[in-house]
Every structure is written in C-alpha cells, then in structure tokens.
C-alpha cells in the first residue's frame, strides 16, 4: 500500500510541473524524464508485491525482509532516475542491484537458487567495479562528477575522440551490460532467473533491467553523448548480437523461465538499438523516445508473461513447457492471458509489443544511416524468429491434447494475481490499440536533454 501512496507526490509533481528542479548541488534532479520512469518503477514494484503475496506465504520464509529488500531495490531505481552525477548514479545502481543478490538466493534449500545467486553476486560485483573504473577515468580526466560539467569539459578540451573517454565508455557499457544482460555479459541471467523465486525473477527481468537501461540512457546521452560516434558502433554490435543470440537460444528452451530469460535478453537488444544508432547520428531525442517507449510497454507485457508462467507452473506442477499441453482448455482465462502476453512480446498487432518494435524500427531507419538500416533488418528477422518460440507456448497450451486431468480446486487463481493479470493485460492491449498514450510519455521523457 505504501508503494502506491508514494505515487501521490509523484503525481503532484507531474501536475504542478513547471521546470526541472535541481537539488543537492545539481546532482539530483526532478524532471519529467525522472517522474515518468519513477512512476513506472513504483508500479512495477507494486505489481511484484501483488505477485509475491501468495508465493512468499506458501514458502514460509521471512516475509518482512523480503519486502524490505524489494523496497530498497526500488529506492535504488528511483535514485537512478533523478541522478545527474557519477556518484549518485553509482549509489543508485548498487542500491538497486545489491538487494537482488539476496533475493535471488531466497530459496535457501534449493541448489539452483544458490548457484544462481552466487553467479549473480560474483558477476554483479565485477560489473560494479567495471562501472566504477570507468567513472574514475572520467573523474581523473575532467575532475568533475556532474554529468553536464563532464560533458562540457570533454567538449572544451576537445577530448571527444580521446581513447580514455572511449575506454571509459566501453567499461561503463560492459558494466551496465551485466545489469541489463546484453551479450556477451548475459550468461548469469538464465541461471539466476531459474533459481530465484518467480516474483523476484519477474522483478529482475523488468525492474532491475529497466534500472540498468535508465542508467545506460542517462550516461550514454548526457555524459558520453558528444563522443557517440566512437562507442555507437560498439553498442551497435552488442545490440545486434544480443537480439540474435537471445532469440536463437530461446528457440531451444523447454523451461519456461529460461525461455523468458533468453527472450528478455533478446528484448534488451531491441531496447539498446536506438541508443546505439542515435549515438552515431547524435540525435538522441529519437533514440531515447524509442527506448523509453519500448521499456514502458515491455515492462507490462513481461510482468504479465511471468505471471502466466507462475500460474501455469502451479497448475501443471511442471517446469517443462511440453508438459503443459492442453492446460488452457481447463483454464481459458489464463490461456487467453498467456496468449496475449506472449504474442505481444513477439510484436504481433494489435497487442502492445508491435508498437514497441515499431518505434525502435522507426528510430533505426530514421537515422538515415546504413548501419541503422542493417540493424533494422536484423531486428525484423529476429522478430520473425522470436515468433516461433512465443507461438510455441500458445500452441502447447491450446492445441496439444490434454495429458493430465486438472481438478477444479487446483485451478483457482488468487485474487491479487487476477488483478495483476487484468491490469497488465489491459495495458498491453491498450498500448497496442492506442499507442499514443505511451508514446507521448516516451516523447516527453526524451526532451530531458534540453533542460
């Protein structure tokens, strides 16, 4: 409940918004970009709570700590949105991800959970040190922590193409690459996702990831923005590889959580593509618009997909999608939801995912660069590949013969889950039919550079 209450000051800020408010010597700012993304994070976390209620109760683990840790992570994400200096954003990033190390190992007795958590922890710490090292290079070069000042310094001393700045950018891309699981830093994701409790996985793949993207967007555009032509090509390669590899591996998965893990890796490739190309052209507004719009729509459809997986695993008692055959006939409600979310992830109109993909293609082709067109073609091919595994779930639950009998009693869906399902499906469908609402948010968010 408290989480929802925290939306109130945000709304007040939104309504009474006149211009960006700077506090703490300009290192913390409240502008429309931050308000929109904070709203997103708060809603995601709230949805995660709703998903968790029954899940955590049934586990008999420590409930208090669970919620405390999630809220800490939320705080980190909120700090990221507003931070405009290197130190604040680093604190935000770490605050957002440290609680997740603990949460991903929540199922103490489970070896997979332990393995996933250790992997996540080790790589997480490594990535933190990479980011920090990247930051320290910048600080050494410019003697400043504020984004604006750094980028001014780089410009005045014409260091745009300096190898040090590039090295620093590459380190930050790698460090954040772990957080958002881009190739080649993605290997922790499937194991950690599989081991963690499902609501935590949902949070990891939506909120943690979004936090990483917000940090990436902020840093790449407002700190490294002027030297975009040098890191743009690196990010371009990362984006192309991420979506292709994620999709190809997802084709082989039979575990639904691993499937979603790889699918969210592939989606990450789509989210960073506009940033990569806008780095090359220097027209960041278009890139931010596409990425933020994608992020908002992705958040809801992916949460919905995790919800369906959580419910279906409970119904069928199996973590093998091939054993889910025909289950939708016994529970059409969850069957329809699953279908909508997965086809939305695949980008089939009229569900939200199509618009997310569309704005990405739009910013890629709009760049007028050959590189953008190439990435657009790679993306189009990937969208078709991804359809195969997204459609496979629907095929199994609707079209295959039912192999086991499901009793009515087991098929009950708890109310919180039902509410989440309806909210997320509503947003997923709405964002497909009236994408204007969400693209306006993306549009507004993209103007923050002008402040």
């Amino acid at each position: 409940m408290g989480t929802l209450v925290s939306l109130v000051p945000l709304l007040i800020h939104w309504i009474s918004y006149t211009s960006a408010i700077y506090v703490f010597q300009d290192s913390y700012v409240i502008d429309k970009f931050s308000i929109i993304l904070k709203g997103l994070f708060i809603i995601i976390t709230y949805i995660t709570f709703l998903l968790s209620i029954n899940f955590i109760e049934s586990d008999k683990y420590y409930q208090g700590e669970y919620y405390f840790l999630l809220l800490s992570s939320l705080l980190g994400a909120l700090v990221i949105c507003s931070s405009r200096d290197l130190l604040t954003i680093f604190i935000g990033i770490e605050l957002a991800s440290t609680p997740m190390f603990l949460l991903s190992g929540w199922k103490k007795g489970d070896r997979k959970s332990n393995e996933g958590a250790i992997k996540f922890f080790l790589l997480g710490v490594l990535s933190a040190s990479l980011i920090l090292y990247g930051f320290s290079l910048l600080y050494g070069l410019t003697g400043n922590l504020l984004f604006n000042e750094i980028s001014k310094q780089i410009l005045t001393s014409s260091l745009e193409n300096s190898p040090v700045v590039l090295l620093s950018a590459v380190l930050v891309i790698s460090g954040l690459g772990f957080k958002v699981s881009t190739v080649p830093f993605h290997s922790w994701a499937p194991d950690t996702y599989e081991g963690a409790p499902l609501p935590v996985t949902a949070y990891l793949s939506v909120s943690s990831k979004a936090a990483g993207f917000v940090a990436l967007i902020l840093l790449m555009t407002s700190v490294y923005g002027i030297s975009g032509s040098s890191w743009g090509i690196i990010l371009f390669l990362v984006a192309g590889m991420t979506m292709t590899l994620g999709n190809l591996v997802a084709l082989q998965q039979s575990n639904p959580v691993r499937l979603l893990a790889y699918s969210s890796i592939a989606q990450a490739g789509f989210i960073i593509s506009p940033i990569a190309v806008s780095g090359i052209t220097g027209n960041y507004e278009d890139g931010i618009f596409a990425s933020v719009t994608y992020l908002i729509i992705y958040a809801f459809m992916n949460l919905g997909a995790f919800l369906c997986v959580q419910v279906l695993i409970r119904f069928t008692g199996s973590e093998d999608i091939y054993k889910w055959s025909g289950v939708a006939k016994s529970s059409p409600f969850i069957g329809v939801l699953t279908t909508l979310f997965f086809f939305s992830l695949a980008g089939v109109p009229p569900l939200g995912g199509w618009f997310a993909k569309f704005v990405v293609f739009r910013s890629l082709l709009g760049s007028g660069q050959t590189i953008g067109v190439i990435l657009g073609i790679v993306g189009a091919v990937n969208a078709v590949i991804s359809l195969v595994y997204y459609a496979r779930i629907s095929k199994i639950i609707w079209m295959d013969e039912q192999v086991q009998e499901y009793s009515e009693k087991n098929m009950l869906i708890e109310n919180p889950i039902k509410v989440v399902g309806l909210i997320t499906v509503f947003i997923t469908v709405l964002s497909g039919i009236f994408p204007g609402i969400f693209s306006n948010l993306g549009d507004i968010a993209s103007t923050f550079l002008n402040n």
Binding site: F361, L365, I377, G436
Partner: protein, 522 residues
C-alpha cells in the same frame, strides 16, 4: 445519410465485429444459442451497414475516396486514423462482410471438432474486423495493424480446429499433426513478409514528408519523388510483404498446407478474403506510390504470375486430395489476378479486381462444398470418392456448377477475370517489354486449358461414375438447410457477376482509370 458520410458508418463496419467478439467472450459457455445469436446478429448488421455504405456511395465519383474520416491516432509518429473507400475497395469490403455472414451461418450447425462455438465464432469476428479494416484503411500504419490482426485468429483457427492427421515433414525428425505444422508455417511466412513491409513503410515515411497517409503518399509518389536504390528497396520489401499473402510463386508454399489443414470456414475465409489483402495492397499501395518501380518490376511479376498459373494447374493435376486440389487452384487463379495487375493497364487492374471478387465467391463456395463432403465421407481422397451425384445429389450438382464457374466458363463470374487479365497482358502499359507479357499471356492461356483439364478430371473422379462399394450401405447426409443458406447466395452471385460484370466494373472502372492516369500519365 449524415451518419454514414462522416465516417461513422465505415468505422462501425470495421469495429462492430470485434466488439461483438469481446461481448461473446463474456457470455458463459452453456448459453450456446445466445453466443450464436450475437455472432449472427453482429455479422448481419455489419453486412447491412456495408450495404448502406454501398447505397450511400456516390458512383459518379467512384475514383474519389468517400465516406471516410480522419482523426489523430498516434500523435508522436504522425499516424492517423484515416479511413475511406473508393471504387476499388468497395466491392472487396462488401464481399468481406458478405462472406463473413455466410461463414457464420454455416458455423451455426457445422462446427468443427473440438466444438466450442464461443472461441470459434469470436475468432471469425476478430478476423472480420481485420479484413474490413484493411480495405478501408488509408494510413500505412493503420493498414499494417489491420493487415496483421488477421494472423492471430487464423493461426488459432487452423491450429485448434484444423486437420488432425499425422504427417511427416521433411526436415523435422518427428511426425507432426498437419494443423500444427500448417498453422505455424502460415504465421511465420506472413509475419516474415510483413516485418519487412513495415520497414518499407517507414522508408516511405521518412522520404515522403513524414506522413503515413496513403493519399498524400500517392500524390508525392506520382510526382516521381521516390527514385533510385531507395525506391527499389522499398518496392522490394513491399513486394515481399504482399506477395507472400497473395501468394505468388515461389512464396506460395504455406498456402496448400494452410488451406488443407484449416477447418471449412477457415479455408473459405482464407481463400475468399485473406488472399485478397495481398493483391489489394499492390493496387492500393505499391503501384500508385511507386509507379516507376512498379514499371520496372512489372515484367518480373508477370513472369512469376505465369509460372504460378502453370505451376498451380500442374500441381492440381497431381493431387489426390480434393481439398488440396482446390488449394492449389487458388495459386493459379491468383496468378491471373497478379498477371492483370502486372500489365499496369486499366483493363488488367479491372480484371484483377473482378478476378478477386469472383475467386472469393467461387473458391469460397468450392471450399464450403469440399469441406462438407469431407465431413460426410470422412475422406478427401479422390480415389475413394466417386458417384457423388448419386450419393449427394444437391452437393454434387453445386460442385459441378462451381467447378464450371471456376474454370472460367463464359456467363459465370470466373470468366471475366481470366479473360480480361489475358487481354491486359496482351496489351500492357506502353514501355513494358511486350515479348515477356505476350509470352506470359500464352502461358496464361495454356493455364486456362489446364485449369479446365484438372477441374473436369476432378468432376469425373468425384461426381460421376458409380459410387464405390464402401459407401453403398452407409447413410450419407446431403446438404442441410444451413449449408444451403450459406451456399445459394454464392451461386446467385456467381451468375449475377457473370451476366452483369458491370456490377463490379461500374464501381471499379473510374477508380482504376484514375489510378493508372495518376501513376503513369495518359
């Protein structure tokens, strides 16, 4: 009527079905008759609305877009809700609402297994929204969304209610049920085409004043604004998107599988309407916006169409499966439609549109008939059928009639499309390679002979002769009233269009002449 002229009428034609589909989802399963009632009512009302639109349509200005409206839809990318109809889309829109009514009437009594009227009828209605929407959309993004809406319902229609026989597929280790293979193949093929088509739309958007509006893009395109490699690439991706849907040889391979595996109503809707979305895309978008590229590509399209015609007919001659034969015949018939379009003349494009309507009516009926027969006989193997005239006189008579219509008998609807497409190909637009077109025409003419050949042979094997022993003692049900209610209107339409082709040309001709004039000058 005020209410029709401001675009509300067209919007209702598009959205009424999907709203009813949502309504149906909230009706509990046991109330089957309520579900059926809602579905029938909404499709009939939609049809009546489309007829009102037809009456309101000003035929003296058929070349202009009418009864439309424009409203902001997605502001940040300048995509609008822009709709309207002209003489080209009007016949197709009415055909779509008409066939949907018949499909629902047929489904009232003849639901495929597993019987679940709720899901099945809701899917038909969603499908109808996609089809109607595509024909009225005047904004590329709107067009794209409607074009794609049809995928999901058709995927599920084939996948859940389709043919359950097990078959082996080369390249797959395990054997797989036909419906599962066909449904995903259909989906992947079409999505592949349309993903690239979307990139093409975006290309037009950026080069054409950042607008997605089709009429505006046509204005820009007819001044020759799109040229060079850019235009070639855009036409190539649009071609890919539309040609998969038509389907043109060699992108047709999803079609026989999907048609054969789909439940009866699914194949009817696929053949009658869905295939037309592709050829309509050529006429509405690809040719007027990129006329120079269309000219450059026309010979290639003509050759592919000619191959499609010959290939489709030869494939038909090799079939033993009745439904698959009809499916392959669609490849040939759509080849004629595309040949007409490729000629880039008003004769050819008129031929294409009447060919589309005629194919919708005739092949739709053929799929109804074969679907019903395979339900009665529990087989589609033509080797086992025979003497159908004696066993099922009504169905047999209709099958004979429809096969005659399909082979292009003068006096029936199928004749005009084929005949005029050949005429168009004989005398294509000035500047097009005459040798290629005349050879395509000869190939097409040979195709008509082959078409007659396989259809007559089919009739001989299925309809004539003595019934095989296995059917002698069985009680076989001939067409019932629901079936006849769905079929007779199609028969009447076939005859009417055959005798009065002006029913179609009256609407299309001005629009087509205007299109050709704008795109290619006098």
């Amino acid at each position: 009527m005020e209410i029709l002229s401001n675009g509300l009428g067209l919007s209702a034609v598009v959205f009424l079905p999907i709203i009813s589909a949502l309504l149906i989802l909230f009706i509990p399963k046991p109330y089957e008759s309520v579900i059926k009632g809602v579905a029938l009512l909404s499709s009939v009302v939609t049809f009546i609305l489309s007829i009102l639109v037809l009456l309101e349509f000003d035929f003296s200005k058929a070349s202009q877009l009418q009864l439309g409206s424009k409203a902001t839809w997605i502001e940040s990318i300048n995509a609008n809700y822009e709709i309207g109809i002209d003489g080209i889309s009007l016949p197709l829109l009415v055909l779509s609402t008409f066939i949907s009514v018949l499909a629902i009437i047929y489904s009232l009594e003849h639901l495929p297994e597993p019987k679940s009227p709720k899901g099945f009828l809701a899917l038909i209605l969603v499908l109808e929204t996609g089809m109607n929407g595509t024909f009225v959309a005047l904004d590329l993004i709107l067009f794209f969304v409607f074009f794609e809406i049809v995928l999901l319902p058709m995927y599920f229609m084939i996948g859940i209610w389709g043919d359950k026989t097990i078959r082996s597929v080369s390249g797959l280790k395990k054997e797989i049920e036909t419906r599962l293979y066909a449904s995903i193949k259909f989906f992947v093929f079409t999505l592949f085409g349309s993903a690239f088509m979307l990139l093409g739309f975006l290309g037009l958007y950026y080069r054409g004043n950042k607008t997605f509006s089709i009429p505006e893009l046509i204005e820009i395109g007819s001044t020759g604004a799109f040229t060079g490699t850019f235009a070639t690439l855009v036409f190539a991706v649009l071609f890919l998107g539309f040609a998969v849907k038509v389907p043109m040889w060699p992108l047709h391979t999803w079609l026989p599988d999907a048609h054969t595996a789909a439940p009866t109503v699914g194949s009817v809707l696929l053949a009658a309407i869905l295939l037309k979305l592709g050829s309509y895309g050529f006429i509405r978008i690809a040719i007027p916006i990129l006329p120079e590229q269309a000219k450059a590509w026309a010979p290639a399209i003509a050759i592919l169409s000619a191959i499609g015609i010959i290939y489709g007919s030869l494939a038909c001659l090799a079939q033993t499966d009745l439904k698959r034969l009809i499916a392959f015949s669609s490849v040939g018939h759509m080849g004629f439609v595309m040949l007409g379009i490729a000629s880039l003349t008003s004769v050819g494009i008129n031929a294409a549109i009447i060919g589309m309507v005629a194919h919708g009516v005739i092949t739709g009926l053929l799929f109804f008939l074969t679907g019903s027969m395979s339900h009665t006989y529990h087989t589609r193997d033509m080797g086992r059928l025979g003497g159908n005239m004696k066993l099922l006189p009504k169905t047999g008579a209709l099958l004979g009639f429809t096969a005659m219509a399909s082979l292009g008998l003068p006096g029936l609807a199928g004749f005009w499309g084929e005949f005029m497409a050949l005429l168009g190909a004989y005398n294509p637009l000035q500047g097009l390679n005459i040798v290629i077109f005349r050879s395509s025409m000869v190939a097409g003419a040979i195709g008509t002979v082959l078409t007659a050949g396989y259809l007559l042979w089919m009739l001989q094997r299925v309809n004539l002769g003595e019934p095989a022993d296995e059917w002698k003692d069985k009680e076989l049900h001939d067409a019932d009233n629901y079936e006849l209610a769905a079929w007779i209107p199609l028969v009447i339409l076939t005859v009417l269009i055959g005798i009065f082709p002006k029913l179609i040309f009256g609407a299309t001709n001005d629009a087509v002449v205007d299109l050709i004039f704008k795109a290619f000058g006098g």
